[in-house]
């Protein structure tokens, strides 16, 4: 258990984020692409669209968003399907769906390296890739993850080791897929006191 002043293994305090970096237009043939990294976690997102036609059960009066999540290694399993669902619903919120009805925009997420905080990094990467593709957005999405340890102690932006070690070997990771304002820490504190 660390207090707010102590540093973790990589020299970060509890409220410090890992170094962020974002590069756009990394892929030539995709309509939009971005590579987003938080510390060692790196995600590549590519956007293809809008393409004509929607899938069978989708509403033809709105644009349809499709997300494909490719893990770094292994087959596609349940975790990948859950990430696809969360990402799809989040991006449906930020995209203006009425501008291009009856079209499909496909976002492909490729995990290049997994060192914790995978889903927030993917949300940030997907948002940057959509901006790069010129898809009309209402606002930008920002995501962060934090770990809640037993004594209600928060650690922002955990890496893989912190995710696994905190709280009895199974970290309680709360992913904020809402929209965070600038003052991340104060909002996090008020939410934790409400939820706890």
């Amino acid at each position: 258990m660390k207090s707010t002043e102590e540093k973790g293994e990589d020299g970060r305090s509890a409220t410090q984020l890992r170094p962020l970096s974002c590069t756009r237009s990394v892929l030539n043939r995709a309509h939009g692409s971005a590579s987003f990294s938080q510390g060692e976690t790196k995600i590549l997102a590519a956007v293809y669209g809008p393409k004509a036609g929607t899938k069978k059960n989708e509403n033809p009066e709105k644009a349809c968003i499709e997300v494909i999540w490719k893990p770094k290694s292994g087959q596609i399993g349940k975790a990948e399907k859950e990430y696809e669902m969360i990402l799809k619903r989040t991006l449906q919120n930020i995209c203006i769906l009425n501008v291009h009805p009856n079209t499909t925009t496909t976002i492909i997420i490729q995990v290049v390296n997994d060192d914790g905080s995978l889903l927030p990094c993917a949300i940030n990467a997907a948002c940057s890739a959509l901006v790069d593709a010129g898809i009309p957005l209402k606002y930008l999405a920002v995501a962060i993850s934090f770990c809640l340890a037993e004594d209600e102690y928060c650690v922002l932006d955990p890496n893989k080791l912190e995710e696994q070690c905190l709280e009895q070997g199974r970290a309680a990771i709360k992913l904020l897929s809402d929209f965070l304002r600038r003052k991340l820490w104060s909002k996090v504190q008020s939410d934790v006191s409400v939820a706890g």
Partner: protein
């Protein structure tokens, strides 16, 4: 704008069912203005819930849970396995959620439901992290044998709030679970002792004396609420879920501690006050569900 004028003209002449199909959002909003839903429920009330334990006789523990029309059948089967090296005195739980084509017209054999793997993963996370089952209870012989519990949940009718019904049926199945009596035979393997042989002599003592139930610490219960503008609808049906695409799932345990709060995106945004209201609705629901589950358990014991 011409369509809205057209619908205003049509709505006075149209039948209720046609209006419900053609303009579902307006149909619901008219009801929400009166703080009621088309099936007569007030906004904060969940549908009638029933639990029947022991639905599958061949399983070690089973339950059939119904929330309104949503029906889930859960069954737990126990198998002996060698425990992992890192945790030699802990058993294991494998959870799987199936949505066979019977449950909904949108699911066909070649078109598996998108919700199924997502709900499986959410159930696994919640059941393992809520501390309901202490894995050490599933141990038989430290380092050599432990129980592997296969929990299978089949959705028989998908009418909204699938996760709530699945979690309820899983919790009920584990409450009903009875661990069979086993003993170690000469080859060092675990064998089941059936009732007929209980009088015979065994070289070694049975590993566990009698059929026992699992000691469950706290039971997690959940409530899904649909969020639409300023309205919060508890326990949405499938029609409501497809119209108001934003929903929030809160899972609390028996001591009303928060286990999980899940809002997977969606067109609407949730304010802090909406989240607090949802948690308050969940607290009421947890008390209802605890009562229903205790009644079902005591009915079983009387038999």
């Amino acid at each position: 704008m011409s369509t809205t004028n057209g619908s205003n003209d049509l709505s006075s002449e149209m039948e209720v069912d046609a209006f419900r199909r053609l303009f579902p959002l307006r149909f619901y909003e008219r009801h929400l203005l009166e703080s009621i839903r088309p099936d007569g429920r007030p906004l904060g009330r969940a549908r009638d819930t029933t639990i029947a334990l022991g639905a599958v006789a061949s399983a070690n523990g089973s339950a059939l849970a119904k929330i309104g029309c949503t029906t889930m059948l859960a069954a737990v089967k126990l198998e002996v396995m060698t425990p992992k090296l890192e945790s030699p005195d802990e058993g294991c739980i494998a959870i799987d959620f199936h949505m066979p084509p019977i449950c909904s017209p949108l699911v066909r054999p070649g078109r598996p439901a998108e919700a199924a793997p997502v709900i499986t993963k959410q159930l696994t996370d919640i059941i393992l992290s809520s501390g309901m089952i202490d894995l050490k209870e599933l141990s038989l012989v430290s380092g050599k044998a432990a129980w592997l519990a296969y929990l299978d949940i089949y959705c028989l009718d998908a009418d909204g709030s699938l996760f709530d019904a699945a979690l309820l049926s899983a919790v009920a199945a584990f409450s009903h679970l009875q661990i069979p009596v086993v003993s170690l035979n000469d080859n060092g393997r675990i064998v089941l002792i059936s009732e007929e042989n209980s009088g015979a002599m065994w070289e070694k003592e049975p590993v566990n004396k009698e059929k026992r139930k699992l000691k469950l610490d706290t039971l997690p219960f959940s409530l899904t609420c649909a969020l639409h503008k300023n309205y919060i609808l508890a326990d949405p049906s499938a029609e409501e879920e497809s119209i108001m695409e934003t929903y929030l799932t809160v899972v609390l345990d028996s001591s009303l501690q928060l286990v999980s709060l899940n809002k997977p995106g969606g067109p609407g945004l949730a304010q802090t006050s909406a989240i607090q209201d949802c948690v308050a609705l969940t607290i009421k629901r947890v008390k209802e569900l605890q009562k229903i589950l205790n009644e079902a358990i005591s009915d079983m014991e009387v038999d």
